[in-house]
């Protein structure tokens, strides 16, 4: 199997996997970074969202070749201690029910706010529309994104 060098959460990692292995499974099974979740495997639910050079992307639909030379951030690396304003806002608003989709929600929200630090409610809804929350904690997700935007000011 080919060996790949990838940069995850600031550290360079060597992985030995077949070339078509989606980044999701490299993170989960090979690097023990299980915070990134498997939900659908076809880029429909957003549970596996990570940042690639700061852009939110679906790790289930990314190959290693697509992240070659790029910098990956997962939920484990968003901050060292859960202190990222979006994580803090999730805590302040008490967002999760089951919690499974929330890492993906937080990764989508944090990349979005990086580009649009003062969004309108409609912009937040558009940005978060791709992430499914089966428990339907949507009201709080929206509130937490707006709270994070406020706290980042």
């Amino acid at each position: 199997m080919p060996t790949y060098q990838i940069k995850v959460n600031g550290a360079s990692q060597t992985v030995d996997v077949s070339e078509d292995t989606p980044v999701l499974w490299v993170l989960r099974d090979h690097l023990d970074l299980v915070g990134t979740k498997y939900g659908c495997g076809i880029g429909q639910c957003g549970a596996c969202t990570i940042h690639v050079d700061g852009t939110a992307m679906r790790s289930c639909s990314l190959t290693l070749a697509q992240v070659d030379g790029k910098s990956i951030t997962t939920i484990e690396g968003l901050s060292e201690d859960g202190s990222h304003p979006v994580q803090q806002a999730w805590n302040e608003v008490d967002v999760p029910q089951c919690g499974y989709c929330q890492a993906g929600q937080i990764m989508t929200a944090s990349a979005f706010l990086e580009n649009n630090p003062n969004p309108t409610e409609e912009e937040v809804k558009n940005a978060m529309h791709g992430n499914i929350c089966r428990c339907a904690s949507y009201t709080r997700i929206k509130k937490a994104v707006l709270t994070a935007a406020e706290n980042m000011d």
């Binding site: 499974w25 099974d29 979740k37 495997g41 890492a103 978060m128 339907a136 709080r140 997700i141």
Partner: protein, 742 residues
């Protein structure tokens, strides 16, 4: 208005204390049943045994309180709210309380009673009494040391004060307290004095969730563990004939490919009760070094299947359900008076049929389970709502003693009823016993959605007779796939309000596996009945709210023990919903729909507001009023209530699952629509403030939502909605031309 389900038991029967080897006090208690007469909590924390006590509290000699709760957490919030109840009566500060999920990896962690959706309701008395009893023992110990009467002492946040103003912390007296008798008569707090309950507390797992720590079954790893993906029948009714795995075996990471199914079939011979929840066909398991390699190799296996039982389709189901409704082969669940006589004498009759599809649960975390079968033990780990049931089935299947089964529960990425059925636990156990390796079975999303366990498709036919402006007869007929309604559901509103009242249920046996889905039966029954009332009020030309209030006036719940709902509490939620939603006072551009409902021991009223956006009616807001008694954790409660409403709106609008040739029409979210952010209405939740014992909250706000939006759409469009999901008939969601407002 006291609850009819108060549980009383002696404190000696359900709790015991011991003095911990390292100092401090351990209280073992059992939420749902008395402890065995000889059971004692251990003196060593590593020996916690959840067979006798299903929860423990440790009070350390520095006063810190740790609550060990093995109860499964599926997103309903009990891991936060149950400890809050203990902390309240124990009288400690919430920030001094640590909550730990029951210990992992111990020989003694065997099994425990799952609380289901009734955790708070059933745990209410035991949790309060445990906290209060421990507090009293600590006070008694302090009083003994001071030589004063315990009644002279007061407690605040873990500090005991006597009449002279001297103080002792819980940690100062905890070792003496363990030597005392467990007192029997302990006063519980007046709800007016609550300091923790009624205050919002953040989910105790919040930090782990927001930083991506391993919590869920899919995150679990063990030394030497391999991954497995299973090739399952492509359709219900199919059975494996043969397969060719030669290509798959050459793929990278593939360790082995084996056929399983014999043990499941032998189990079903011994215990057929589980047969409707698992396919008896052989399955092919790909064992690989990683999840992805297992998934990929599974696709490379060539298979031949044959028809084993009837290959069914939605068109067949439809015909069968109609046949039931048109026939006379029913199980009568409740019958008051004589509906047929009343219909014969009625001035007017309204009869309508409502239909709903199968629904997959679609937990965000696909089904998975870890198993390792050795001579010493059978080790099972993963997300399961019914651990005791599954441990028993696995023991039976593998011819093992139940004491050999060690089952650990992880946090669950959703349940919604799907994880009541541990078909995946049985599969993992059979596979582990076959390959003699620790293995985790992982469902692909396609496995999870495409060959799952579904809410049964159901039709309701409701007929009402009206005479002299009164509803004199009400006849509800149910036609369901596999199983019809159960328990007290036939006694929900409007049972007791109409003299001639009958509920009949009939079922068609299908090979499609079906089961409970969040708020079983009521999740669609509420929509059907509440849409029917709406139409009935229009036919009778009476006010929609008044119709409901008049019916409730006729209910004498005390005279009929089957009736669990309270007309008074129902009227209260109706009145508050009318007030909070601005019912009848909104501008003419807002179309409102009303619903009141009772299920899971809670009373709910909802008003949906529909407005016209770009020419189409859109649900903008739902006002939800809930009476679930005392609200333990307002933040968690609001989250549950809102989630239930939005889940109800989403499935009513979009949830559809049809079969053709025994195969579901969707396998993944590209062809199955769940509600998403932009479709979510505003939800305004109000809880009735009272001091009654808490009742269910994980489910009761879901069923009314479908009726509320259907009634609001009816107000906007003039159409009636007899089929879910509403998006199945988009033409009915159009506003008549003349009513479109610029």
């Amino acid at each position: 208005m006291s609850s009819k389900t108060n549980i009383t038991f002696s404190r000696r029967a359900f709790m015991r204390t011991s003095s911990l080897a390292g100092g401090g006090m351990l209280i073992g208690f059992n939420l749902f049943q008395a402890c065995k007469p000889k059971a004692e909590p251990p003196v060593d924390l590593s020996q916690l045994n959840y067979n006798d006590f299903n929860a423990f509290i440790k009070i350390a000699d520095n006063g810190a309180v740790t609550i060990f709760s093995p109860n499964p957490e599926i997103g309903q919030g009990v891991k936060t709210s149950m400890p809050m109840i203990i902390a309240e009566e124990l009288d400690v500060a919430w920030q001094d309380v640590y909550v730990e999920q029951g210990i992992l990896d111990t020989e003694n962690y065997q099994r425990q009673v799952a609380g289901g959706s009734q955790s708070i309701r059933f745990g209410w008395d035991a949790l309060r009494q445990t906290g209060a009893t421990a507090k009293q023992m600590l006070v008694n110990a302090a009083a003994a040391r001071w030589g004063v009467d315990a009644s002279e002492c007061t407690v605040s946040e873990g500090v005991i004060t006597n009449a002279a103003g001297e103080t002792l912390g819980y940690g100062d007296v905890v070792n003496e307290a363990t030597q005392l008798e467990v007192p029997e008569d302990v006063a519980l707090k007046d709800p007016k004095d609550y300091k923790i309950m009624g205050q919002s507390k953040v989910n105790v797992d919040i930090d782990k969730i927001t930083t991506g720590k391993p919590l869920f079954g899919l995150d679990y790893k063990a030394d030497g563990m391999v991954y497995a993906a299973l090739v399952r029948p492509p359709a219900f009714g199919k059975k494996l004939v043969s397969y060719d795995d030669s290509k798959a075996r050459t793929m990278s990471g593939v360790i082995d490919i084996v056929k399983i199914g014999e043990k499941v079939r032998a189990l079903l011979e011994k215990d057929p009760s589980f047969g409707s929840k698992i396919s008896s066909s052989d399955k092919i398991a790909v064992i690989a070094e990683s999840t992805w390699q297992a998934f990929k190799a599974k696709e490379a296996i060539e298979t031949v299947w044959e028809d084993d039982t009837t290959i069914e389709s939605t068109a067949d189901h439809d015909k069968e359900l109609n046949k039931i409704l048109d026939g006379n082969n029913f199980n009568t669940m409740r019958s008051d008076g004589d509906v047929n006589k009343a219909f014969a004498e009625a001035d007017e009759i309204l009869e309508r049929t409502y239909e709903s599809p199968f629904l997959p649960h679609n937990c965000m975390e696909p089904m998975n389970f870890y198993a390792n079968v050795t001579d010493e033990k059978v080790h099972l780990v993963g997300p399961i709502q019914t651990p005791a049931w599954k441990a028993g089935l696995v023991a039976n299947m593998l011819d093992r003693e139940e004491k050999d089964i060690l089952l650990e529960m992880t946090r669950m990425g959703g349940g919604f009823g799907r994880r009541l059925y541990g078909d995946f636990v049985i599969e993992a156990a059979e596979l582990a016993a076959t390959i003699n390796k620790p293995v985790k079975v992982v469902f692909t999303r396609e496995d999870d959605m495409g060959i799952g366990i579904y809410r049964p498709a159901i039709k309701y036919r409701i007929k009402a007779g009206i005479k002299d402006g009164q509803i004199t007869a009400y006849h509800l007929k149910e036609a369901a796939i596999n199983d019809g309604m159960y328990g007290l559901i036939p006694n929900f509103f409007p049972a007791g309000a109409i003299d001639n009242y009958q509920v009949d249920s009939g079922a068609h046996d299908s090979n499609v596996t079906t089961g409970a889905w969040r708020a079983p039966y009521t999740n669609f029954l509420a929509s059907a009945e509440q849409s029917f009332f709406d139409e009935l009020a229009e036919l009778m030309e009476v006010d929609k709210i008044q119709l409901r209030l008049d019916l409730l006036d006729k209910v004498d719940a005390a005279a009929d023990e089957r009736i669990q709902y309270s007309p008074e509490r129902m009227k209260e939620v109706i009145k508050v919903a009318v007030d909070k939603s601005g019912w009848g006072t909104k501008p003419s551009s807002v179309y409102q729909g009303f619903v009141n409902y009772y299920c899971h021991n809670s009373h709910v009223a909802q008003v949906a507001d529909v407005e016209i956006v770009d020419g189409d009616p859109v649900v903008k807001k739902i006002t939800c009023v809930v009476d679930c008694g005392i609200v333990v954790n307002p933040s968690g409660a609001e989250n549950q209530a809102e989630g239930g409403v939005i889940d109800g709106v989403g499935h009513t609008m979009y949830g559809d699952f049809a079969f053709e040739g025994g195969q579901g029409h969707a396998q993944n979210f590209d062809r199955y629509r769940l509600i998403r952010m932009k479709e979510v209405p505003e939800v305004e939740t109000h809880f009735i403030q009272n001091e009654l014992s808490p009742t269910g909250l994980g489910e009761p706000t879901l069923p009314p939502a479908g009726g509320a939006i259907a009634n609001a759409f009816s107000a906007a469009t003039g159409n009636r909605y007899y089929q879910q999901p509403l998006m199945k008939n988009p033409e009915l969601l159009k506003v008549p031309e003349k009513e479109v407002i610029g």
